[in-house]
């Protein structure tokens, strides 16, 4: 495998990893925040709208 195609493969994998990683991490943080807040907020106020 030449150096150029090595870079290419790394960059392609990297792009997919960054995309999935960042969105996944954000999603996890939002969901965890929601669970944590749900414990604080009384049940009758937990419904949106």
């Amino acid at each position: 495998m030449s150096g150029a195609s090595m870079t290419e493969t790394l960059c392609i994998i990297g792009a997919w990893l960054v995309t999935f990683g960042a969105v996944g991490a954000y999603a996890a943080s939002v969901i965890l925040r929601g669970r944590r807040l749900s414990k604080i907020v009384p049940p009758e106020q937990r419904r949106w709208m």
Binding site: T7, V18, A22, A27, G34, R35, L37, E44
Partner: protein
């Protein structure tokens, strides 16, 4: 939002323990399905592009994220306008949730674009119109989030954010025009960020499934983020009734407390 409808139809209201609901789970599953298809076609099945070679596989990620980001900013803009008109918490929360998600997708877009540049040009950054525009817009919306993060009266904060949301969105076409002219004079049309109509069938399929997946994930995130924001507001309201009670009590012990 459609999910709430599903929510209210579902069997009776045990209080939710998080931001999920039947609606979001269905939506999430569909999004996941498209993601799997996108991975399968985008990374494995579809052949390299005639012109772009394997770097087209980065474009499969780049285009959906930028579309999701623009969708999110569009939602922020509409919500900002609606907030200034209706002044309801719903529009404020929707707008700020969308802005956060837009920033996330935009940041990812820029990283993907830089990686594509590394392969294609040998450098991470070139002053390519789309990358430049995205960088400027990203910083603009980081400013929005910075103002959002300043503790303030909810109404004040909502108004500030709505104003920034509107001011920022009208800048998007102007930045595009300016940057296109700025660079367009030196370079031909770039491939980055456009869907080439000459693409082959499997490539087109990979692209569109990634696009659908991106949009679905964006909406799914938005619902969760909205609900988390709603819960956060309720959590900070918690003290309110109590504070009102305490405030009234202040007056009772000190009868006619003059001077």
């Amino acid at each position: 939002m459609t999910t709430t409808k599903t929510e209210s139809l579902s069997t009776v209201p045990a209080a939710p323990t998080g931001t999920g609901s039947r609606g979001t789970r269905v939506l999430g599953a569909v999004a996941l399905l498209f993601l799997v298809i996108a991975v399968a076609y985008g990374l494995l099945i579809s052949p390299p592009d005639a012109q772009l070679g394997n770097t087209i596989r980065i474009i499969y990620m780049h285009v959906p994220t930028v579309m999701a980001a623009y969708l999110a900013f569009l939602i922020t803009a509409v919500s900002s306008g609606m907030y200034l008109w209706k002044r309801t918490e719903f529009w404020d929360l929707l707008g700020s949730s969308a802005a956060e998600i837009g920033v996330l997708f935009f940041a990812v877009t820029i990283v993907d674009g830089a990686l594509w540049g590394k392969v294609t040009w040998g450098v991470f950054w070139r002053w390519e119109p789309r990358l430049t525009t995205s960088a400027v817009l990203l910083i603009m919306y980081i400013g929005y989030l910075a103002v959002r993060a300043i503790p303030a009266d909810p109404k004040t904060r909502a108004t500030r954010c709505a104003i920034i949301g509107l001011v920022a969105v009208v800048n998007i076409p102007i930045v595009h025009k300016a940057v296109d002219w700025w660079r367009g004079l030196h370079q031909g049309k770039t491939v980055l960020g456009t869907i080439d109509p000459e693409m082959g069938g499997t490539q087109l399929f990979a692209m569109y499934s990634a696009l659908v997946a991106g949009i679905l994930v964006c909406v799914w995130l938005l619902i969760h983020r909205f609900r988390a924001g709603f819960l956060a507001e309720r959590a900070s309201d918690l003290g309110l009734d109590q504070a009102l009670e305490e405030r009234r009590l202040e007056s009772s012990p000190a009868q006619g407390a003059d001077s």
